[in-house]
Amino acid sequence: MTALSLPALPPPLRTVLRAIVLALFAFAIFGPLLNLLLWAFAERWYFPNKLPLEFGLTFWYRVFQPRGNALASLGTSVWIAVLTVALSLAVAVPAGYALGRLKLPWRSAILLLFLLPQAVPNLPVYVNIAQVFYQIGLNGTILGVVLVHASHGLVLAVWIASAAFASVDVSLEEASRNLGASPWTCFRTVTLPLAAPGLIASAIFVFLESLDEFTGTYFVGVPDVTTLPLLMFNASMGGNYQIASITALLLLIPSIGFMLVVERFLKADVLAMVGR
């Protein structure tokens, strides 16, 4: 912004200004992450020392010990995320196909309904689901948490799947049908493979959302289901910044990895069809 509003400056000064603004921005983005990294490897660190007094891996051993809470939570988190992806895609792929391919009455209204969980504060939903689940014994179960995650993940899954199916060229399907393929064979061998990159993208989105989800698990998962975000939260509130930072790093790896590759899965032709 600064460089933008000062076009009258001489070129060398503009270069310096631009470098300063970029450096400040880089600090704003990476400073907090660097601080987390320091905490993850700090053995001892207290006020007023600028850097940890001692670096080490003691806390990493504690996190990764065979019977440690963290590995169990990681397992729980991944298992819940896998089940959530399976459930979401099982219902989102047919729905996405119908919305992306078939002429339906109320199509836009249905698409909007699927947007609801993104457009409405989720807290009331979690609070009441927790109360109902408590009465029917689903609170504190994996299934309960999966159902909550899936109802939220479905939004992205349906929207992306519908865009992915809409971007498949109809003439290819017609060719296969004219050559005598049954509707199911045509779907399985032509439509599905062509829509696959978009569907994989939606699967990754749902997986990440489930892996990172906090509020729903906080209400529905207690007291027996401890996912990685909950473990991180408990460690942080208990004042154990090393354990909290290491768990936070574990959660960061898939998030940042996905950020770096997202455009390979979500091609422009699919993105252009989102919400159409």
């Binding site: 989102a92 119908a98 002429k103 159902l147 109809v170 990440l208 990172d212 906080y218 910044y241």
Partner: protein, 285 residues
């Protein structure tokens, strides 16, 4: 678009509904029904009659927190908008290709970082002995004695902006990239400064995208529990913390749901703002 499943539009309809049914059922049972339940529980007395007492109690205990929440979320939304416009604007109009490339690579790192991790990250970064203060002291910008913890409303706003601005920037930069470049070039040829081009020519064309991004962020931030719990759990705090407290400490679902409904009303305010401006845009067009 011709359908493949069948060539008969009526049959198409039934096939479509059958394919949609499971997904619709999940949304209705696990999202719409609990939402409706919130409205019922918030107005129900113990004996089943209708009452406003839960709202009276909510306002009694939590009016400050309600205003605090609104102020924080509004301030964050405005800051997110300004940051996103600045970054997306430079990505679109920047004349130094290397600076544009660096900025494009930099800005999106927090994009998929979960709120709970953003909360933890900021909890250490913004603390009195956090890295921010050490850097400010080290560069001589502040005296060691004037170092203060930012873990109050400012910490929540910073965490929200840090986490949510990349999302809005991504949407906005995409929208700006699809504007016809002739308009921009024409204005530039006529001698308009880049800031003028951004405000007068580009922003009006991407207003819809900006509003969608900001309204989605506004609603999302209203529902975030982890960030206020980790950065500023003591009163005054955000309503999500109060809701969790009512439930975990008192099992008081009635007041919790009344508070939830109030946050829904705030969200509806955001939606109204969006629709109002979207309609205005259509009228102008």
């Amino acid at each position: 678009m011709k359908s493949i499943a069948t060539r008969d539009p009526i049959a198409d309809r039934w096939v479509g509904l059958a394919l949609l049914a499971p997904a619709l059922a999940v949304i209705l049972v696990f999202f719409v029904a609990p939402l409706a339940m919130s409205a019922v529980v918030a107005f129900r007395r113990k004996d089943g009659g209708l009452t406003l007492e839960h709202f009276a109690k909510s306002f009694d205990l939590y009016t400050t927190d309600l205003l605090f929440t609104l102020a924080i979320v509004l301030a964050s939304t405005i800051l997110i908008g300004l940051v996103a416009i600045a970054i997306a604007g430079y990505l679109t109009l920047g004349e130094n290709p290397r600076a544009v490339a660096i900025l494009r690579w930099l800005y999106r790192w927090p994009l998929f970082i979960p709120f709970v991790v953003a909360g933890q990250v900021m909890r250490t970064f913004l603390a009195k002995n956090g890295m921010l203060n050490h850097v400010l002291i080290g560069t001589g910008l502040i005296e060691p004695l004037s170092a203060q913890s930012l873990l109050d409303w400012r910490g929540i706003v910073i965490a929200f902006v840090w986490k949510q601005a990349p999302f809005v920037t991504l949407l906005l930069a995409g929208a700006m990239a699809s504007i016809e470049t002739q308009h921009i070039e024409a204005a530039r040829n006529l001698g308009a400064r880049r800031l003028r081009v951004l405000i007068d020519i580009i922003l009006p064309q991407v207003r819809g995208t900006l509003l969608v991004g900001l309204v989605l962020s506004f609603v999302t931030m209203l529902s975030v529990l982890s960030v206020p719990l980790m950065i500023n759990p003591n009163s005054p705090t955000m309503m999500t913390v109060d809701v969790a407290y009512r439930i975990n400490t008192f099992g008081d679902y009635a007041v919790a749901n009344a508070l939830c409904l109030l946050s829904l009303i705030l969200a509806a305010g955001g939606a109204w703002f969006y629709l109002h401006h979207a309609v205005e845009k259509v009228e102008h067009a």
